[in-house]
């Protein structure tokens, strides 16, 4: 580029002066970097840049150009320089280098002859023209013209084909032609299946099709369904408050039992405050978007259930999944996200895990999570729907189970539709965490509040659990009894944690297809219900569910089950699995 600039300067020199001064005057311009020798012959080779990587000098004599043509050459170079100069500014020649210049030189020389004629043609009539003391000659005219053309081209808008909007007629035709897809895919036989209908309460024993069956399908972990105390509190509440609350919490839908229930749960969990939601599944998918916004980072387990997945999606945060319940995978994910990333400190970072995964029956190693969370400074959102009221010596959940102080977990959510045998959900944490949700959590703000009798039931259930922790001992012995009974099932293996009240049975030899696996498992559950009056269920997967963990049979153990109930389910599973899975063992 340097030489291009020099060209420009030379080109702009008043040529008359250059002519008069001859070579001597050029020598004065040594500082410009040109080497001009006294020798006439070598003076033809005057284009010799100071930077020495130019391999060949240009032999102008080959083109029959003498010293007297120097000014035309200068004119050409100046034009070339101007073009490059503009090209440089316009970024059209950003990588122009000397090599390119050498190649260009040949082309330049070719055009020089043509330019000669042009210049002479312009020169002749303007030989004596002087405007404001400037002698006008050919090369100046050419330069001005070139600059004018360049400026003209630069100011022109780029070419765009004219827009032709669709005519009304065309739009009509398009609307006519458009064929929408149906609202639902073709109905298959599978979709027509109806679930069994219960004709009594979903307690440990229930009635299906007029027949009493043992119920291992309800997450009634503490056996509180049908509990007299809870029903009495519900009746009292129904008589006082009616069924529904007829309003969202903000607009007279806050009933004193809601506040009592929130205090009761916070007191039970040992947290400063808690907040009630009117439906279990909406709790987690409202809480996550209330705290995580666009640009925040969430690290989540890949095995989380749909409610969590939906929350993660609605938050619009950057979500990174780690391998199901794999702490090394979590650590490397956290490391990757935070290492050398100074920005990470300024954005909110959350780890989202389920305490007890309903998709696998696994338990999150909370002590490890807390260690990693503190090391990498992430907040933790813990979904305790199936562990609240189940894990820990007094049923206070996963934190109690691992002996982790509850303050270390930033946000805990849980559904009350499982162990507490009522409905709705809650979120608990610091006052800051809870108050923030009261205006920002869409499932709380925009929904009618929990029916007051369900809040009364929750209070009564927590009271019951606190008064009688022996329920938990019964539950645990039932779980181990059932695991013993199911320990060597033909074709099925227990995949859940030893303390999980969901005993998760998966196929020893999966067929490789999700659908076929499910068909096999459904056959087992159907036959168990029909032939042995044992009500067990398989995994259900919605088309929207992104969880890819293997499917299985879920046996929900309750403290209300007796040893004979458990024997019945083990025997039935032994028998039916052997029959159905005969070819899959």
């Amino acid at each position: 580029m340097l030489s291009a600039a020099q060209d420009l300067v030379y080109g702009l020199l008043p040529t008359e002066e250059a002519e008069d001064l001859g070579l001597g005057s050029l020598r004065r311009h040594h500082h410009l970097g040109f080497l001009i020798s006294d020798d006439e012959k070598s003076s033809y080779n005057y284009l010799k840049p100071g930077i020495g990587d130019l391999s060949s000098d240009v032999d102008l004599s080959a083109f029959g150009l003498g010293l007297e043509h120097r000014r035309y050459l200068l004119a050409f170079f100046s034009v070339f320089g101007v073009s490059i100069y503009f090209g440089f500014f316009c970024n059209t020649l950003p990588s122009f280098n000397f090599k390119a210049e050498v190649m260009a030189t040949a082309v330049m020389n070719m055009t020089t002859a043509a330019l000669d004629w042009v210049s002479i043609a312009f020169d002749a009539p303007l030989a004596r023209a002087v405007v404001f003391g400037v002698h006008i000659d050919g090369h100046l005219v050419v330069e001005v013209l070139l600059i004018a053309v360049i400026l003209f081209q630069l100011t022109r808008k780029s070419y765009k084909p004219p827009k032709k909007p669709l005519t009304e007629k065309e739009i009509d035709d398009l609307c006519e032609e458009w064929i929408p897809e149906p609202l639902h895919p073709p109905i298959t036989e599978e979709m027509k299946l109806e679930p069994p209908t219960l004709e009594s309460a979903a307690g440990p024993h229930t009635v299906i099709d007029g027949k009493e069956v043992v119920n291992f399908a309800s997450a009634n972990y503490l056996g509180l369904i049908g509990d007299d105390k809870i029903i009495d509190s519900c009746v009292a509440s129904l008589e006082k408050y009616g069924v529904g609350s007829c309003g969202p919490r903000g607009f007279y839908g806050t009933i004193d039992v809601h506040l009592d229930c929130e205090t009761r749960i916070a007191k039970f969990m040992g947290t400063p405050d808690s907040i009630l939601y009117s439906y279990g599944i909406s709790t987690i998918f409202s809480v996550i978007p209330a705290f995580c916004k666009k640009g925040d980072i969430i690290v989540a387990d890949e095995g989380v259930h749909w409610g969590v997945q939906n929350g993660l999606y609605l938050s619009r945060s950057t979500v990174v999944y780690f391998k199901h319940n794999d702490m090394t995978s979590l650590e490397s994910t956290l490391e990757k996200l935070t290492r050398g990333n100074k920005q990470a400190e300024k954005i909110r970072r959350y780890i989202v895990v389920e305490a007890l995964y309903q998709n696998s029956g696994q338990i999150t190693p909370l002590n490890e999570i807390v260690r990693l969370k503190e090391k990498y400074r992430f907040r933790v959102i813990l979904e305790e729907s199936h562990s609240f009221g189940v894990l820990g010596n007094t049923g206070r959940g996963l934190a109690e189970h691992y002996g982790v102080p509850i303050e270390k977990i930033d946000i805990i959510t849980a559904s009350m539709g499982n162990a507490l045998a009522t409905d709705g959900g809650f979120c608990t944490g610091t006052a800051r965490v809870v108050d923030h949700q009261r205006l920002s959590s869409s499932g709380y703000v925009f929904s009618a509040s929990l029916p007051p009798y369900l809040a009364s039931a929750a209070i009564a259930a927590v009271d019951h659990l606190e008064d009688d922790p022996s329920l938990l001992t019964t539950l645990r012995s039932n779980i181990s009894l059932l695991r013993e009974g199911l320990s060597d099932l033909p074709g099925l293996t227990i995949a859940s944690h030893p303390l999980s009240p969901i005993v998760f049975l998966k196929l020893k030899n999966p067929t490789g297809s999700f659908k076929n696996d499910l068909e096999l498992l459904n056959k087992i559950t159907e036959r168990a219900l029909k032939e042995d009056s044992v009500f067990i269920v398989s995994t259900k997967r919605s088309v929207l569910d992104k969880c890819r963990l293997p499917v299985g049979i879920r046996v929900f153990v309750s403290a209300g089950h007796t040893a004979s109930d458990i024997k019945k389910v083990s025997d039935s599973l032994q028998r039916v699995a052997a029959l159905v899975l005969a070819e899959h063992i």
Binding site: G242, V243, S245, Y252, F285, K293, S442, G443, A448, L454
Partner: protein, 490 residues
């Protein structure tokens, strides 16, 4: 539609500007104090739960008037209810309950038909169901969560709204937010009314489909949007849309307006797009026999593809439903996550809806249902016309039990709410974010449970407070000016 008076707009903007400026000033001093104390509330190394201005509105505006919201009550939300008195020791930052209550006229709950309180037909049946089925099934619908009550309710709801089949959920919000993603996904288009409820917005967002908005209740604009979208197809790829669903509400809860359903349905039919009608506030509350806006406006339910509604309002229970063709319901029962993963609706709540619908249909052997429906229509129209006569700016249509009274200025929100409560009338005031910033309002919800005397008492108080607060924007005197301005608003 609301047309904001010029001067009011200016004063409202000025008020918010002032509040904002003072809020910023207080934030500034708070930062200085925090800096001196050098013990930030948030743990070191963690980004704060709320960044920058995210909770500015809550801290500096909402907290100052939070006593107007979330007032706890200590009784059923009937015509009259007991509002728990609260006090604050720290300028409203935290509120404490007292044991004292005051009996107030309830103009805030969605108790349209008066089923919120104990009912001679419903309550005994609910208690019986509670004893038989317990409060919960602890299971999902497809496992052990379907009782014969659930099946009965689905058949009854389908019959009530006039559709072949129905599916029910334990929460209205979840009904919208979990159904929409099952029906439509990437490559689909949702055209939503600009004032649709947050649950629809959330459902649409969760679906991954593209969302376009048409002007509130404007069928002509809907047609314009539809023509443009069908002709253009998907952005960038220009492939035709897979399907288009138009989502509207029966009664808009913040406006009290009825949907222009016949016009909108006509447009949708013309362009072969599906319709989704959210009747959260209209089902049970309007129509000759309580069957919602379709009945009121003479639309055949067969022309609406998906009819959604909730049981929270008119039926005094909880939950929601979708009524549609048999095939759609079969597909939803197979695919909808709220059906597959959420605890089934609480059996006593199911019984409450069944009983309430039976009362409305007159299947309880009395004419109480018809009386309730006549009562709510009469109450609503009486109250609305009286409010208008007094000079309030009332939004919404006749027959709608929801009637917003425009307040505009932020200072009038707490003033109106507190003064009414002082006179034992409980009203709901709504401000940002539920409404646009400038359009703060008080919202009256009329119930069939209220007698004429109750309403007269309510009107007296509202009129008195309206004079005090200065929200009679269209006073009857001078009549000429008032009428003109009024026409503009409507």
């Amino acid at each position: 539609m609301v047309r904001l008076p010029y001067v009011t707009a200016l004063t409202t903007l000025f008020s918010y500007g002032l509040l904002f400026a003072f809020g910023q000033l207080r934030d500034f001093f708070r930062r200085i104090i925090d800096w001196f104390k050098s013990s930030s509330k948030d743990l070191k190394g963690y980004a704060p739960i709320c960044l920058g201005l995210e909770d500015f509105y809550t801290r500096r505006l909402y907290l100052r008037i939070q006593d107007c919201f979330s007032r706890p009550i200590a009784s059923a939300p009937d015509a009259w209810f007991d509002v728990v008195e609260r006090y604050s020791k720290d300028n409203n930052k935290t509120l404490h309950r007292t044991a004292k209550t005051s009996q107030c006229l309830n103009l805030g709950s969605y108790n349209y038909l008066g089923f919120a309180a104990a009912d001679e037909y419903c309550t005994p049946r609910v208690i019986k169901s509670l004893k038989k089925y317990s409060p919960s099934t602890c299971s999902i619908r497809v496992d052990g969560g379907t009782t014969d009550l659930h099946n009965e309710l689905e058949l009854l709801v389908a019959r009530f709204v006039g559709k072949p089949a129905a599916i029910t959920f334990g929460m209205g919000y979840v009904t919208n937010s979990a159904i929409i993603p099952v029906l439509i996904g990437k490559g689909g288009l949702i055209i939503s009314d600009s004032l649709n409820h947050n649950s629809i917005v959330n459902g649409a967002r969760g679906s991954g489909a593209a969302v376009r908005v048409f002007q509130h209740n404007n069928a002509a604009h809907l047609e314009e949007v539809l023509r443009e979208q069908i002709a253009e197809g998907q952005p960038r790829t220009h492939r035709p849309w897979k399907k288009i669903i138009v989502i509207v509400e029966g009664i808009y809860s913040m406006e009290g307006e009825l949907c222009q359903l016949p016009e909108i349905i006509a447009v949708c039919k013309k362009y072969k797009v599906y319709t989704y009608l959210d009747e959260a506030h209209s089902i049970g509350a309007v129509g000759k026999s309580g069957k919602g806006v379709c009945e009121l406006l003479g639309v055949d339910p067969a022309d609406v593809d998906l009819m959604m509604g909730t049981f929270t309002k008119s039926f005094g229970s909880c939950g929601g439903y979708i009524a549609a063709s048999k095939e759609i319901v079969q597909y939803l029962k197979h695919a909808c996550p709220a059906h597959l993963y959420a605890t089934s609706m609480s059996p006593p709540a199911v019984q409450q809806v069944i009983s309430a619908i039976k009362v409305i249909l007159g299947e309880d052997g009395s004419s109480r249902g018809a009386q309730k429906l006549a009562q709510i229509r009469e109450n609503s129209n009486f109250f609305r016309s009286e409010l208008k006569k007094m000079g309030f700016e009332v939004l919404g249509d006749n027959d709608s039990p929801v009637m917003p009274i425009m307040l505009y200025n932020p200072a009038k929100i707490p003033a109106f709410s507190r003064e009414c409560l002082r006179h034992n009338v409980a009203v709901v005031t709504v401000a940002f974010p539920a409404t646009p910033l400038l359009l703060a309002r008080a919202r009256i919800c009329i119930s069939a449970a209220q007698s004429r005397e109750d309403l007269v008492k309510g009107l007296e108080v509202i009129s008195k407070v309206g004079d005090l607060v200065g929200i009679k924007y269209f006073p009857a005197e001078p009549p000429k000016h008032g009428n003109q301005a009024h026409k503009k608003v409507e």
